[in-house]
């Protein structure tokens, strides 16, 4: 995962946190989230700009979310042998709320 500032690009989408951090992640990884999928595949603004501002999620949290999306995508298709996904305890609650919002 990179924190590159590149906006748009067919295979990448840009996630913007409430405090303005931008995360570019692969479209595939974003599709792991039901909410993000609808955003980018629906008919709204987001699908045209390939960019979404998530007003409820701050930068630190969004980084962890992106990390999880990629982690999920990577291990989607191989059962067993999946390394533990580490979650700092202080972030657990917020992450839980975010995941509910994003339908992960």
């Amino acid at each position: 995962m990179s924190q590159a500032e590149t906006e748009e690009g067919g295979d990448f989408v840009l996630l913007v946190s409430s405090d303005g951090y931008k995360f570019s992640i692969s479209r595939k990884a974003a599709m792991v989230s039901g909410t993000l999928q609808r955003m980018f595949e629906g008919a709204g603004l987001e699908s045209q700009s390939n960019r979404v501002i998530l007003k409820d999620i701050n930068g630190v949290l969004l980084e962890k979310v992106c990390e999880y999306l990629c982690y999920n995508l990577k291990h989607q298709n191989n059962p067993g042998n999946i390394p533990e996904f580490e979650i700092p305890p202080e972030m657990a609650l917020e992450l839980l709320v975010a995941s509910d919002f994003l339908d992960v």
Partner: protein, 788 residues
């Protein structure tokens, strides 16, 4: 995952949020969705649900969409429909009379209406998808929990209730009417826009009914209407076609309709409708009408058979097979037809027989042979024709075949002389018909005969005839080939088993043994009697194997004669020879079956004559008579002691038949009278050196009638023995048996040979009781006990 509840402290104002959402929804309907931020809307809805406003949101959503749809119908669809309403509303709203033909305008209006509905439907679906995306969180948390329909499904239900079943303007009814109208037009041969209909049908199919699993608006509302109007259409159609067209055409039309309906259902109606509409067509066009079509005077099944309309018959079979696996009607029609044709053949044959001698020189027997030949050929022709029909058009259907077999068997056995005819047919073929044919061809002819043989119930009658014909063939040396004879016997054996043919085979054996014996005797006689002038060839027949009239002693009075001394000498010599080898056997001579080769000297030249034994005896008498002298009938009879009818026959052939007149008769007339005198025709001439003088057949028709009666009596007698034997066999095995069961068992045992009637069996049972083979049980008069 459930979110923690205590996180967001700030309460939200439902109205404000709903405002945001409903505005967005309106934008979506206006196709402005691309200007909306999904994230914002989703977050708004998410927050509302989180704050327990889900129920309110759900209801608000529903009333918003309902209102929108109602407005849409009123503004967009109703005005369009009003064009078509005049012609359609009558049908759409309950009336089921065939849709009146719409004008071109109205038709197009109908299609336009369908298209408009389709546009609205597509829009609606799209919007519902977007809204359901926005309200996804509510779907997940609220709807699933309370088992309410998801947003999307709720949206479709709203479309159903507020558009299709809109109370003020029945969009649905209009759609149905338009579709039915279009289908009607297509059935009448117009081109219609199937894609518009297909779209409408798809829409109706995706609208499910609440609370009923698997039911859709299509299956609940449209399909019944469609089936009802189709039924009406086809009832009328069937009546129309059967009135206007020939049966063949009717079948073509029916198949065409079936195909059309199948295609219609597959292309733009539902797959699930296909079997229903097909069964309607089958019911109205086939089940209710096919009998009338089949029995049509000028074009029904009989005509099809007559004209070999194989296509039509095949079609008929296919259609009938669709509705009735038993094909009862078809089978009955065929049976009636076969029986009818068979009865005609029988009648023709009987009439042929009744006709007086047709041409001169055709004896009654030849006439009978010809009739038999004609009859057999006609029956086989009929059989082959129906076989062809069966195999070419009905896939050799088993049930139809059974019926045909039954029909054939019925009419063949109605013909009282079927066995005799068949045997005559075979006789004729074996005597001359098969001459010069290859083995395969001969086998084919025999196979045909066997085909017919299978149908004959009274196989024992056939056996009797066959035996007497075979005997004549063998003794007269008139069979064209032993191989073919044997082939026939083998075929018979395969059909009815060993016991049937033992005697026939015995006859062959006798012939073979006789040939060997003749050879042996030749050597023997050369040793013992070197100056003999006569050669002898004998056939020694086992009396039980050969037909009674040939071998039993009952006719001994009529078959003796005084042989000339040379012959008598040879006869004694052979008798001695035979008895030396087989002591204890009795030889009876049968001059009526024999023949002799003579050399006779006439004025012009010498001729070799082949004549019957009797004729030979008569002719040798003239050896001792001076040229020009004559012998009277009485004298001849006294000298030879040949019975009168035989003498008459032989004299006729010697003195009356024009080309072989070796004797002269005084006075010259056709009939032989006891007062006639005979002398040698010294001026006899012929083109050939060797002349066969056949014995004149019994010209008297009453004679053949008598023969027939004898045959029948003989058969009856045989049947009595066989029935007795069967009764004893069964009773011996079962010891005690009830009357009815005994009768049934006897019938089944005998059925391979003939069909015994109950009265015969009953009589035989009585006879067996009398002869104390069995007794009535003392407890039950209906039960018999076997007496050892």
């Amino acid at each position: 995952m459930r979110p923690p509840r205590n996180r967001d402290s700030a309460d939200v104002n439902f109205d404000d949020s709903w405002n945001v959402l409903s505005t967005a929804m309106q934008e979506m309907y206006k196709k402005n969705a691309s200007r909306l931020s999904y994230e914002e809307l989703y977050r708004t809805a998410y927050t509302l649900v989180l704050k327990k406003h889900a129920e309110k949101l759900y209801n608000a959503f529903k009333s918003f969409v309902a209102q929108h749809l109602r407005d849409m119908v009123a503004n967009e669809l109703a005005p369009l429909a009003s064009n078509t309403a005049n012609s359609l509303s009558a049908d759409g709203l309950g009336s089921t009379v065939a849709v009146p033909l719409a004008t071109a305008d109205q038709r197009e209006a109908g299609i336009r209406f369908l298209k408009a509905v389709k546009v609205q439907w597509d829009d609606h679906c799209l919007c519902m998808r977007m809204i359901s995306d926005i309200l996804m969180y509510m779907d997940r948390v609220y709807c699933k929990e309370l088992q309410l329909p998801l947003i999307y499904d709720a949206g479709l239900a709203l479309f159903r209730d507020h558009v299709i079943r809109n109370k003020e303007f029945q969009v649905g009814e209009h759609i149905y009417a338009v579709i039915l109208n279009q289908i009607r037009l297509q059935r009448d041969g117009d081109l219609v826009d199937t894609s518009a209909i297909k779209a409408a049908v798809l829409m109706l199919e995706s609208l499910t009914e609440d609370k009923i699993d698997g039911e859709t608006v299509y299956s609940r509302s449209f399909e019944p209407k469609f089936l009802r109007s189709s039924t009406e259409f086809y009832v009328a159609e069937a009546a129309k076609i059967s009135r206007e067209c020939l049966s063949g055409q009717y079948l073509v039309e029916t198949e065409k309709r079936l195909k059309e309906e199948h295609e219609r259902a597959m292309t733009y109606l539902s797959v699930s409708t296909e079997p229903k509409i097909i069964s309607i067509v089958e019911e109205t066009m086939i089940t209710k009408n096919i009998i009338a079509v089949m029995h049509s005077e000028k074009s029904g099944i009989n005509q099809m058979i007559l004209n070999e309309r194989m296509d039509d018959l095949q079609r008929l079979y296919r259609l009938v097979a669709r509705v009735d696996p038993e094909k009862t009607d078809l089978r009955n029609s065929l049976m009636t037809r076969v029986t009818q044709q068979g009865t005609e053949i029988n009648r023709d044959a009987l009439e042929d027989l009744k006709k007086p001698e047709r041409a001169k020189g055709v004896s009654a027997q030849n006439a009978a042979t010809m009739t038999a030949f004609k009859w057999v050929e006609a029956v086989l022709g009929l059989k082959e024709r129906y076989d062809r029909i069966l195999n070419d058009t009905m896939d050799g259907d088993n049930k139809v075949q059974t019926s045909l077999t039954k029909a054939f068997s019925t009419f063949i056995n109605q013909m009282s002389r079927c066995s005799e005819f068949l045997s005559l047919f075979i006789d004729d073929n074996l005597k001359k018909g098969l001459k010069g044919k290859t083995e395969e061809e001969a086998e084919a002819v025999l196979d045909r005969a066997i085909t017919l043989f299978r149908y004959i119930d009274d196989k024992d009658v056939f056996e009797t005839y066959y035996k007497s014909h075979l005997a004549k063939r063998l003794l007269g040396g008139r069979s064209i080939s032993d191989d073919v004879e044997r082939m026939m016997i083998t075929k018979l054996k395969m059909e009815v088993g060993f016991s049937f043919t033992t005697k026939l085979e015995g006859m062959f054996k006798d012939m073979k043994v006789s040939r060997d014996m003749t050879e042996e005797y030749k050597t023997y006689s050369q040793e013992h009697d070197s100056d003999r002038r006569t050669e002898l060839s004998v056939s020694v027949l086992t009396s039980t194997n050969w037909p009674v009239s040939l071998s039993s002693g009952e006719q001994s009075s009529s078959s003796t004669c005084v042989y000339p001394s040379e012959i008598e000498h040879v006869k004694r010599s052979f008798e001695k020879f035979y008895v030396d080898r087989h002591s204890g056997r009795v030889l009876t001579w049968k001059p009526n079956m024999g023949n002799a080769d003579l050399r006779a000297t006439f004025k012009k030249r010498k001729y070799g004559l082949n004549v019957s034994t009797y004729a030979m005896v008569i002719l040798t008498l003239f050896n001792d008579v001076a040229d020009g002298d004559a012998l009277s009938f009485e004298e001849i009879r006294a000298a030879t002691s040949i019975s009168e009818p035989e003498l008459v026959r032989n004299l006729q052939s010697l003195a009356v038949v024009p080309n072989t007149r070796v004797l002269l008769k005084e006075p010259m007339s056709k009939d032989i009278k006891p007062t006639d005198r005979f002398s040698v025709n010294v001026n006899f001439e012929s083109h050939y050196l060797k002349i066969k003088i056949p014995t004149v057949a019994y010209i008297n028709k009453t004679e053949t009638e008598k023969e027939r009666k004898e045959t029948v009596d003989k058969v009856d007698e045989l049947r009595r023995y066989q029935t007795d034997a069967a009764i004893v066999r069964i009773m011996k095995a079962r010891k005690t048996l009830e009357h009815n069961i005994l009768v049934a068992e006897v019938t089944s045992q005998l059925s391979s040979r003939f069909h015994p009637d109950a009265s015969l069996i009953k009589k035989r049972i009585d006879a067996m009781l009398e002869r104390e083979y069995i007794e009535r049980s003392s407890d039950n008069r209906q039960v018999y006990n076997y007496l050892a």
